[in-house]
Symmetry: C2
Subunit: 356 residues, 2 copies
Amino acid sequence: MLKSLFRHTVLAVAFAAASSSAYAAEEVYKLKLAETWGPNFPIFGDSVKNMVKMAEEMSNGRLQIRVDSSNKHKAPFGVFDMVKTGQYDLGHSASYYYKGKVPNTLYFTTMPFGMTAMEQHAWFQYGGGQELMDEVYAPHNLMAFPGGNTGVQMGGWFKKEINSVDDLQNLKMRIPGFAGEVLAKLGATPVNIPAGELYTSLERNTIDALEWVGPSLDLRMGFHKIAPYYYMGWHEPATELMFIANTKKMEALPADLQAILKVAMRKAAYDMYVHSYAESAKNWEIMKSEFPDVQVKTFPAEVITAIKKANDEILLEKAAEDEQAAKIIKSQQDYLKLVRVWTDISEYGYLESVAE
Amino acid sequence: MLKSLFRHTVLAVAFAAASSSAYAAEEVYKLKLAETWGPNFPIFGDSVKNMVKMAEEMSNGRLQIRVDSSNKHKAPFGVFDMVKTGQYDLGHSASYYYKGKVPNTLYFTTMPFGMTAMEQHAWFQYGGGQELMDEVYAPHNLMAFPGGNTGVQMGGWFKKEINSVDDLQNLKMRIPGFAGEVLAKLGATPVNIPAGELYTSLERNTIDALEWVGPSLDLRMGFHKIAPYYYMGWHEPATELMFIANTKKMEALPADLQAILKVAMRKAAYDMYVHSYAESAKNWEIMKSEFPDVQVKTFPAEVITAIKKANDEILLEKAAEDEQAAKIIKSQQDYLKLVRVWTDISEYGYLESVAE
């Protein structure tokens, strides 16, 4: 049907000497997207499917996006490079996975003791966050966009209780991003492992602990069967995934399809936060009723204080080493100071006043 | 340019005997939207402009939406009717403004002591909220959608302090929706007044108090010049505006334009929450530094307890009187119970752990 329309339009162009935009108006653009996640991965993968569906419907089929999951492209943490080189047009991943390659990608997912999701959205759109992310990604021929928020993540699943800072010594834990560096400073050994290998790694004691997301995704991973302690979070208050696009490929699209793609990505990202919230609430209830043996814990104040201190020291080190990092850290800290006052009066104040 | 493309397509259809969809593909659809707000109204009006711009860009100009503000159509609270009858194709307003006309519209903006914005989004998309709103609006040939959240609203500006329930007696206050009914039960006289008349009404003592939104919008209204007390909120934890569409007009659009319009409305709604959040944070800081005489107050516990009791009683009355109301109230209360547990562990727990 689309091909037939396309041929008719070509005839129209020949016959009526119309501009090339009439031609482009019915051309089908086939794009390829690489996602970090495995096939049919819940919530994260759903947000990609949501985006693709919206883009296809809004473009009347002129945008067709093939999604390759990690089982296909075999490079869950290679999404940055594959989109940069143009092997893929689009990607769905998390910025902080690429800190080993481009250190300042670290700041655009979530920061320990940092902003909540709405605070971070406000920073991103009205506090200079998007511009800073553009600065980091543009030299790599990449455009980066929000990709969906998980909300506050849980602190992770532990085989042993954490009662003191000593218990962090030599603790081998899957924990990516800045939080991993913070724990390393306190003697732990942070590693990053693709989702598909997490359960086996924990089961075989290759790692002693892991954080993944929270009840929205953790329950179906089965971690509660092999690690009894589930800690509340400090390290990822607002994990925002990202969509990335190859800049040249994006700019080669007609303006209306660029607009459709950008709006579809942004709306899918917003939708994912709502989806995460709903799944978290539902799964928390399931966990409490079906797995009553899970022990929900908070880290002792001594541990939180030590972690916060290590966190602040590393931020100072990073700011001293790199001008761009210093600028990003300052922007985030200034905005957090401004916006948290409002959060405390509004959301937090309200929740406090109605708490029973 | 668009007209010229359109003519070329008509020629193409004639020449190549294409289906009517090639014709429709370039037709321009001109829609009219009535907004409750005055011209260039900040944040609320911005969200409408944002939606219109996205729809036009994504449709390559095939969707053109004229926005009429209240100075034009003269019926700020007539948006429901004007869209229902087809005088306008689309509207931007708040559902609870129409409770006098269709009582169960009351439940789709925000409820006192109810859900926060993210909780309400989760209820709407995953807890049956959208389906219930459809049930209320469909008999009026209307489709209703989220229209942008203000976040937690402030409790309002008062000329006199509220120290006891007695101080609510005969208090004439602009406060719409369910909250107005709650205060009426305690002896106050709630009224609704269009935004443009609020300042004069308060200045001339036509009313003794008013709630509008919060620092994002209140400061430029100047209320702080004529009422010294600014109370924290209990009554509107998550005010969601709404876009409405005339169902027949919506369904007459080609499928791709329907998709574009729906996605543009939803994204504009999400964007407005972020915009509100950023403006609230910024304006709160301005207020604290430029107007240090504003006294920020919380209602005494005695008053909150009385309000909550009145609130619960009215909910019971409404549920007893109307089957649909009972179903909506039950759905909201059940979902709040489920989701608040998660909010307390995630956002609230995190904010509590990092509070200084």
